[in-house]
């Protein structure tokens, strides 16, 4: 039994129109996504803006309403538990948000931000709470004296670490990290990524890592799913995706990563032209009439690709 199992997840948003504001159509933000995560691993969900990767993450944690499909966490069906209040699931699954500037309440002190989940689930005295928050801050590498400071007194990387301290306060099992380093400079990004790997080992965490920077994804993830227009185009281990991409969209995405070696510039340029030509030429072979991906077909034990059915 997989740790987290998502089966044929669909999230459709209604489009209202007409004089009476009736639902005229739907935006299929997530249209049949299945994935499964093993404990202690990191799963990367990749796609361009609008591909539905964030919606998928938010639907799993219950921030978006699920239209159809099934979410199983540790063998329990939690799909319809969205308004389930303070269930165990809420405690076990936490989220790290993209923007450390807007995801912390500017009017609250650090202690109130980090202690909020504790106050919801654990009855601690003021003194115990303070000790716990200080421990958490130390764990994320912030000085325990900073509990009385406000978010604006910290740098971007430090704020992101406050967000992480809040996320790990209840010792969760799964963390959904939605572009946790996209808003950060490279050196700060390195700090946060290292730190996420450290606490993963320490607390045996499982990550669903949502991102668009393929360098970061490759560095962090064991398994990767590539999304396009609400559907999967390819799924596999990091090695499958980067060394042996099968779908033309994945190929194009991998080719577009800027190479840090200026000597390869010309080579990279030609390679991109080639892939682009291939993409344009074989677009119709890889996408259906509506420009959507086909269902996934296995090509190896770990590797699945959206290809039209043979025959």
């Amino acid at each position: 039994m997989a740790f987290l199992n998502v089966e044929d997840l669909k999230v459709h948003f209604p489009i209202k129109g007409g004089i009476f504001g009736r639902t005229v159509d739907h935006v299929k933000a997530v249209d049949g996504v299945s994935l499964s995560l093993e404990k202690g691993t990191t799963y990367g969900l990749v796609g361009e803006s609008g591909s539905g990767k964030t919606t998928t993450g938010r639907a799993i944690i219950g921030l978006n309403k699920i239209t159809s499909g099934k979410v199983m966490f540790e063998g329990k069906d939690i799909t319809n538990n969205i308004s389930r209040g303070r269930s165990e699931f809420r405690k076990d699954v936490q989220m790290i948000f993209q923007d450390p500037y807007s995801s912390l309440n500017p009017k609250k002190r650090v202690i109130d931000i980090v202690a909020e989940p504790l106050r919801n689930y654990e009855k601690l005295s003021k003194k115990e709470e303070k000790i716990r928050v200080q421990e958490l801050l130390e764990l994320v590498g912030l000085s325990p004296e900073s509990i009385l400071k406000y978010p604006h007194e910290f740098s971007g990387g430090q704020r992101q670490r406050i967000g992480i301290a809040r996320a790990i306060a209840l010792k969760p099992k799964l963390i959904i990290a939605d572009e946790p380093v996209s808003a950060l400079d490279v050196s700060v990004q390195a700090q946060v990524l290292n730190f996420m790997q450290d606490i993963q080992k320490e607390l045996d965490l499982t990550y669903l890592f949502i991102g668009h920077d393929l360098g970061v994804i490759k560095h962090m993830c064991d398994n990767i799913g590539i999304m396009y227009k609400g559907r999967y185009v390819e799924e596999g281990t990091a090695d499958d995706i980067f060394s042996n991409p099968q779908h033309i969209y994945t190929k194009r995405l991998v080719a577009a990563i800027p190479d840090i070696d200026p000597r390869k510039r010309q080579e990279q340029h030609e390679f991109r032209q080639e892939v682009k030509a291939e993409y344009e030429q074989s677009y119709n072979d890889y996408f259906d009439d509506e420009g959507l991906a086909y269902p996934l077909q296995p090509v190896s034990d770990t590797h699945r690709v959206a290809l039209p059915e043979k025959g």
């Binding site: 803006s49 740098s155 400079d185 050196s187 390195a190 668009h212 360098g215 800027p258 000597r263």
Partner: protein
Amino acid sequence: MSEKLLEIKNLKTSFRIKDDYYAAVDNLSLSVNKNEVLAVVGESGCGKSALAFSVMGLHTRAKIEGNILFKDHDIANISSNDLNNLRGNEMGMIFQDPLTSLNPLMEIGDQIGETLILHNKDLSAEKRKEKIIGLLDKVGIPRPERVYKQFPHELSGGMRQRVMIAMAIANEPELLIADEPTTALDVTIQSQILELINELKEDMNAGIVLITHDLGVVAEMADRVAVMYAGQIVEIADVHTLFESPKHPYTRSLLNSVPNADKAQDKLHVIQGIVPALQNLPREGCRFKARIPWVDDSEHEENPELHEVTPGHFVRCTCYKHFDFPESKEEQHGIS
């Protein structure tokens, strides 16, 4: 030797905080040649955008000292009339965020048309429209006649950025400043936009200043690279030299902190401490000193200068000679 297009001499751009002025760009000199991409790299707060805005004369409240020589003008001391003749005409700028930099209430065609009306008065309305559609086509916008009549919100991020580029190149500028032109975009669109900028360089023989924090973009685009830290250039070299034999501790740290797709690393390098706020910037000695505390004080210069190590490769301060990454991870991790 290629021809110099822009020469910046001892530029100092200072901002007022409370009652004092603090320099965000501190005594900076550099030059850009024709048909060259000069990348300016650094993290947020290093002064790279302040530099770009100084060159375009866009600062309204900053104190600007030094010289910015472009053609026959010194932009640091120029009348606003002359400046308006230059901007949008002989020099163009691509801004970071295409959504906030376009007027949401104006059709795309009219927005691009504005610069043409200003700088090219004898163009008839018909010719102008033809030219705008040609520009939209040039930057790779499909169905330009349709986009001409659309509003910014109807276009995707990549398309908006293309509109910005069309606007910046409308009058075929000789100098183009691109301030993080692809930061807000997806990788596939990023590679298209970068390709486009490269083509424009060749077509127009323009000099391009590319401001970015993405070292991958630098490696793909730049001819020369200037690395900025705390308002100063700490290293400047041609792109191959910079990536193959970086010298300054900051450059080396930056390169080490990028997750590298080819090289599996367990741990990324982390630079100790944080970039100091503008008013707390150390103004004397090596500005990077606080971030590499394991390097002995005596190895820094008192007044660090740029030293030419090989022709065209300049490094600030002498600390690079003694710098090495600490072995133990704990030492390196000292997080504040």
